[in-house]
């Protein structure tokens, strides 16, 4: 008994002398994403990085809770319920299903989404310019026309564009529709080669040999995860492979006109910081990071028989020799 009292007294004394590490006002940001995936992870890291720049440092005045649903919708639901219980200052859903689960669970608490291609079609918001409820975020919708124009420059006699995508991924279906619309304007035709899972992607790529003059890949999780298989087909058949996410260029795509997901994470993190600072969500419009950077891979271009004009090479943000 006596020792207990002594111990308590000692603890109290220690606590008194210890530097006040715990900030008087610690904010909590809860982040969830449907699956571990390089692009989604880059978004998450970007968010935390940008929050630190804005003065919310993890471990000092910020607590970050991160949860992956491991590709399982039901787990995603339970994660959203967990977030509803811990009442974070802002919760973030990276990917369409994660954002939808949060919308459903969080009530009026602020929700920020990221990497959602079409937030309106996903039922998250109605007016991207002035969000009407408690939800805003970043969309990875990209106008496909610049990418198509790039292909026309690099593959001068291109007539048919081959597209590989998973018809089960909401984001990809939106992108493929956009690519089709953009191609029509430029007088190109699109050949679709669907692959319902990663294992079907190599065959889907081989299907395009002889049918397409170039391949353009949307940012499809199932497809991008096995990009190397498509690159192999492209090199053998001299069928150049283009993407819309810049990370793929290092992995063997000829070129990509797109933004990288770490950037998107930073933009998302800025939004989260604004909300923590007290800005109303209605004043934070949905952002589509439109800065499309050109990444080029000269080795891949040579392997797939692409001549890169000097002016294109000069305009590239990054050239991999």
């Amino acid at each position: 008994m006596k020792t207990a009292v002594l111990a308590t007294a000692a603890m109290a004394a220690l606590a008194g002398f210890a530097a006040p590490v715990v900030a008087q006002d610690t904010k909590t940001v809860a982040i969830t994403y449907i699956v571990e995936h390089p692009a989604l992870d880059a978004v998450r890291e970007g968010i935390v990085e940008s929050l630190a720049e804005k003065g919310y440092t993890e471990g000092e005045n910020l607590k970050v809770v991160a949860r992956s649903a491991q590709g399982n919708m039901t787990t995603q639901t339970q994660i959203a319920d967990e977030f509803a219980g811990i009442k974070p200052d802002v919760s973030v859903g990276i990917s369409t299903p994660s954002a939808q689960a949060l919308k459903n669970a969080m009530g009026d608490a602020p929700v920020v989404f990221a990497a959602v291609t079409d937030p309106v079609a996903a039922g998250l918001i109605e007016s991207p310019e002035a969000p009407e409820a408690n939800i805003t975020g970043t969309s990875d919708k990209q106008p496909p026309k610049p990418a198509l124009e790039l292909i026309q420059k690099l593959v001068p006699d291109v007539k048919t564009i081959g597209v590989i995508y998973n018809p089960g991924e909401a984001n990809s279906v939106v992108q493929v529709d956009e690519i089709k619309a953009g191609a029509e304007e430029l007088g190109l035709t699109v050949v679709e080669s669907p692959a319902a899972q990663s294992t079907m992607v190599p065959d889907a790529a081989r299907n395009l040999v002889g049918k397409a003059d170039a391949i353009l890949l949307p940012t499809d999780n199932s497809v991008i995860s096995v990009l190397e298989a498509i690159v192999t087909v492209g090199e053998r058949a001299k069928l150049p492979v283009f993407t819309t996410d810049t990370d793929s260029v290092e992995r063997g795509a000829v070129a990509a006109l797109g933004f990288n997901y770490a950037e998107m994470g930073k933009v998302t993190g800025d939004m989260v910081a604004q909300i923590l600072d007290g800005t109303a969500i209605a004043d934070i419009p949905v952002v589509v990071p439109g800065n499309q950077d050109l990444f080029l891979n000269m080795k891949a271009a040579e392997a797939m028989g692409v001549e890169v004009p000097a002016d294109v090479k000069d305009s590239a943000k990054k050239v991999i020799e």
Binding site: E36, V65, R67, S68, A69, Q70, G71, N72, M73, T74, T75, T77, Q78, I79, A80, D81, E82, A84, G85, I86, T96, P97, Q100, A101, K103, N104, A105, A121, A122, G123, P167, G168, E169, A170, V173, A196
Partner: protein
């Protein structure tokens, strides 16, 4: 664990009780290891979401979802009974086919039903909004489904179904048509699973084609945990076990998710599930059950004959 997480675990658990009951019907009663459920769960979601978006009353939309599930189960049964395809493979074929069918039904991979009336919003306006309103409705539905199955398995038709799963040769000799019983049982099992999918989409406000991933594992885990807790001496206990097992499993997950619990991270969930199922199987074995066979060859302990005697 917060109150929200607890309520969420009860909600999801009671919803998955329907999946566990579906797996009880196929795996246990019919002795048919049915993998159609990974497709019929999102099928129920797709059909009812599409119907709701087209302005159909949510209750009718839910019934549509159930009917679609019944058809899916019937087709799996047909592949097996009529065309002699092995039962596991028949289920896998249906599951794969349903992926495309679900995409067709919704016209896209992800169909939100936010802002539309659902059975949950209707019920809420009836009893008043609250943290537990979904849970109450799902409790009524899960217990209702359990009691209906209990009753059905005691009718002459239900006893025939059990006999056919228990001992096909004996059933045939008694004049029971095994093929017809398989078709009926599979239709019932997948209607239950589609009902769960339909309710899940309405609760979540969205239907997605990838929703069915892991349905079979979750359902089995719930079934086996339930059996470990209550045993399977009678149908009444076995179906009650499905409901309780599903809720317990979801509480486990919520527990594992709540931060900082002995270093468990969400990415360990699959491992935890496997361990929980394995431990539950071991526990139920140590209760001195005899005649355990492999998982795919479980039968109800009491033969249909005994139940028959009870009836007379």
């Amino acid at each position: 664990m917060t109150l929200f997480a607890l309520a969420g675990a009860f909600e999801t658990g009671l919803l998955f009780a329907l999946v566990a009951l579906s797996i009880f019907m196929s795996f246990r009663v019919l002795d048919f290891p049915d993998l159609t459920v990974d497709g019929s769960f999102p099928l129920g979601a797709a059909v009812s979401a599409a119907a709701i978006v087209h302005g159909i009353d949510p209750f009718i939309a839910t019934v549509f979802g159930m009917l679609a599930g019944a058809i899916a189960g019937f087709v799996t049964g047909l592949l097996n009974v009529r065309f002699g395809i092995m039962n596991l493979l028949a289920g896998i074929l249906s599951m794969v086919a349903l992926f495309s069918i679900n995409l067709r039904i919704m016209g896209r991979p992800n169909l939100p039903v936010y802002g539309h009336d659902t059975v949950f919003s209707r019920f809420e306006s009836l009893v008043g909004a609250g943290l537990w309103s979904n849970t109450i409705l799902l409790l009524i539905i899960a217990i209702g489904a359990k009691l209906i199955i209990d009753w059905f398995l005691k009718t002459e038709l239900g006893l025939g179904l059990r006999a056919s799963g228990e001992n096909p040769a004996m059933a045939e000799a008694q004049g029971i048509r095994n093929g017809a019983m398989t078709l009926l049982g599979m239709a019932i099992a997948n209607a239950l699973c589609a009902l769960a999918g339909s309710l899940f989409a309405q609760m979540q406000g969205v239907a997605d084609v990838t929703m069915g991933v892991g349905t079979i594992v979750t359902g089995l885990a719930a079934l086996i945990i339930g059996e470990a807790i209550l045993g399977r001496r009678t149908v009444f206990l076995a179906t009650l076990g499905c409901v309780i097992g599903a809720v317990v499993y979801r509480l486990f997950i919520a527990f594992a998710l709540s931060a900082g619990f002995i270093g468990i991270k969400p990415q360990d969930l699959n491992l935890i599930t496997a361990i929980v199922v394995a431990v539950a199987v071991v526990l139920s074995q140590s209760r001195g059950k005899k005649g355990r066979k492999s998982l795919f060859n479980f039968k109800l302990v009491r033969g249909a004959q005994q139940a028959d005697e009870e009836q007379s």
